[in-house]
């Protein structure tokens, strides 16, 4: 039994549970603004981040708690940031869309679609100029490929042969607009070839497939082989943001994807492979839920920031 297989499961369960608890906190009125849940896409964050080391860096999106947790961020500090408290990663000044943790190499979630992509390219440039074997990964959604800076960044990374992994999480909707309504060519992976970047479509709800694909691209990038692009096929099981009436998709479609839930799929795999019993996995879930509950409780007890901090950290 590989410990990696169980880690995949534990990490996905942790992200799912974290997001469900965040939804409850939002409903309680404790989280400001909009909340963009990662529920349903957990296999992408976990599979990709499992192929990265602590020294590798990532940029991600406003849906980014999945990547944060997968990269090793603390649930307590994430909860505290969602609540706007001083123990949050950004001392309460960033909020869910802007969480950054330099210690685990998270160069920021981002409120701007595609905004973090060139920043990952810059982090990869650092790897290159410093002569390290580290890589950077940029997570973004399918909607991001129509931003100019996506194309600019792909070209720059290809031209300079930078160790950057472009992870397009294709959840089939750019906010509320379905893929086929905003691109003529829905095969987003074909964009990669235009820039001279190897591209691959991956079942983004199969954590092992995501890991294997990323692992081989990361290995190539570490050895000077340049960037890679992945179109990770996945689906968000919640709306674009909480409160989204989801008028743009059918209940049948959502139900179909629920049946392909990456966590359920992996659980069945583990049981079928005799990697773990159902009881064992249930126990893991209970343990994780308990840990997250105590992290959330600690976060609730964290102080509000002092008004004197408003003017800090501007320059």
């Amino acid at each position: 039994m590989s410990s990696r297989e169980l880690h995949f499961y534990a990490d996905m369960v942790k992200i799912r549970r974290f997001e469900q608890m965040a939804i409850d906190l939002y409903k309680e009125g404790l989280i400001g603004g909009s909340y963009h849940s990662y529920v349903g896409q957990e296999a992408v964050a976990v599979g990709v981040c499992a192929a990265l080391t602590a020294e590798d860096t990532i940029t991600t999106t406003y849906r980014g708690r999945g990547q944060h947790l997968a990269k090793g961020a603390s649930a307590f500090r994430l909860f505290a940031e969602l609540l706007g408290r001083i123990d949050g990663y950004c001392k309460g000044k960033g909020g869910p869309m802007h969480i950054c943790d330099m210690e685990t190499g998270i160069l920021g979630a981002n409120g701007i679609v595609a905004g973090g992509i060139p920043i990952a390219v810059g982090a990869a440039l650092t790897c290159r100029m410093s002569g390290s074997k580290n890589v950077a990964a940029a997570f973004f959604g399918d909607g991001a490929v129509n931003q100019g800076v996506f194309s600019e960044s792909m070209n720059l990374a290809a031209l300079w042969e930078l160790p950057v992994i472009f992870v397009c999480e294709n959840n089939l909707y750019a906010e509320m607009t379905p893929l086929e309504k905003y691109v003529k060519n829905t095969k987003l992976v074909e964009r990669a070839a235009a820039f001279g970047i190897p591209g691959e479509v991956v079942d983004g709800n199969d954590v092992e497939a995501v890991y294997q694909a990323t692992q081989s691209a990361v290995k190539r990038a570490r050895n000077g082989g340049g960037p890679a692009f992945f179109e990770m096929m996945t689906y968000r099981l919640q709306g674009h943001m909480l409160g989204d009436p989801e008028t743009y998709r059918t209940k049948e479609e959502v139900a179909k994807w629920h049946a392909g839930d990456p966590i359920l799929r992996w659980k069945k795999q583990l049981i079928a492979r005799k990697a773990a019993s159902g009881e064992r996995l249930d126990e893991m879930e209970q343990t994780i839920a308990g840990e997250l509950a105590s992290a959330a409780e600690r976060a609730r007890a964290s102080q509000e920031p002092d008004p004197s901090t408003i003017l800090e950290d501007v320059l």
Binding site: C100, M102, L107, I117, P118, A120, S153, L159, D313
Partner: protein, 329 residues
């Protein structure tokens, strides 16, 4: 200053020295921009640096301002010090997300975890028939954004000393040169020369009116002061050098002495930084004023191509002189 220790340099040469010295001083300083390597930059500011420092540290980029500004942010967050050249200030508009939403806010949004020690060098201003998309003075756009430093030098010594300070700073800095000034010569001190950001300079002492300016308009203000002196009016000329931080003291101290002020800027008038300076003066030195604070600024139009129209659109020495005369009437 010791005159013997000065050399005459153009602003382009002074900037080149600043880049070279900082690249020698700190091996993490590197350059990115369009045509800055082999070509040496369209105004030759980066001339010779590719040969000296190599293609890893002097990086010619595709015409992708958003991507290479963003790459600068990522590199800065991970320990390097990028000096990014945006060929014309008008082109910063295609990189505004990276400048305004990313670079300017990163330190604050991250709760102080990560600053973005990056300098964006660019050049603006009219006067050479480059028309509407290559002649703007957009410093106010950046000065309005919390988290950005904005530096706008007017002469060779300041250009060198301010650029070196900006490169050593910890904040994203928009360093705005002026296309008409690159060949302007001026004395530059030998050896290490740093000018702190946020400190203006009194270029000429006077008692009757304060002319507040920066970049190319400092020269016009100085010419206006000469004209005014012929009429017995002694103008004090201030070069702000930076808009953020803004040297409030140098403005207020002068106005408390002269009791009159004219702001001279090449940015268009409406919502230009002159309005901010006027507000500052009336908020903090209202009782010292003997006349309304006036502005000599570019008309609120895109810069026209025709030379005669362009000249008429931009502030001229006569506009400054007239403004002062009206205050003393």
């Amino acid at each position: 200053m010791n005159e013997a220790a000065m050399r005459e340099l153009t602003i382009a040469q002074a900037l080149n020295e600043a880049l070279r010295e900082e690249m020698l001083r700190n091996e993490k300083v590197f350059l990115m921009g369009e045509d800055i390597g082999d070509y040496g930059g369209i105004y030759k500011v980066t001339k010779g640096l590719l040969a000296e420092f190599g293609a890893e540290r002097v990086r010619d980029t595709p015409i992708s301002e958003a991507a290479f500004v963003g790459a600068g942010i990522g590199a800065a967050m991970t320990g390097w010090v990028p000096v990014v050249e945006i060929m014309w200030i008008d082109f910063t508009t295609v990189a505004m997300d990276q400048i305004i939403n990313q670079a300017a806010k990163m330190k604050y949004m991250s709760g102080g975890q990560s600053g973005v020690p990056m300098v964006i060098r660019t050049q603006g201003g009219g006067g050479r028939g480059n028309a509407a998309q290559h002649s703007q003075s957009l410093e106010t756009l950046f000065a309005h954004i919390p988290g950005l430093r904005v530096v706008v030098p007017s002469n060779a010594a300041d250009a060198k000393g301010l650029l070196k300070s900006a490169i050593r700073g910890s904040s994203p800095t928009i360093f705005i040169e002026n296309k008409m000034l690159y060949t302007k010569k001026g004395p530059v001190p030998d050896g290490e020369h740093l000018v702190p950001l946020g400190k203006g300079a009194v270029k000429r002492v006077g008692s009757d009116v304060t002319l507040i300016s920066l970049s190319r308009m400092v020269d016009l203000a100085m010419e206006a002061a000469v004209e005014l002196e012929k009429e017995g009016i002694f103008a004090e000329v201030i070069d702000l050098r930076s808009l953020n931080p803004l040297d409030e003291e140098i403005i207020l101290n002068s106005v408390r002495k002269t009791h009159r002020a004219v702001v001279v800027h090449e940015a268009t008038r409406l919502f230009g930084w002159g309005g901010e300076v006027c507000a500052l003066i009336q908020e903090k030195a209202f009782d010292d004023l003997d006349a309304p604070v006036l502005r000599a600024a570019t008309d609120d139009v895109p810069i026209p191509y025709n030379r005669m129209l362009e000249q008429q659109t931009l502030p001229q020495v006569e506009d400054i002189v007239q403004a002062v005369r009206s205050q003393l009437r």
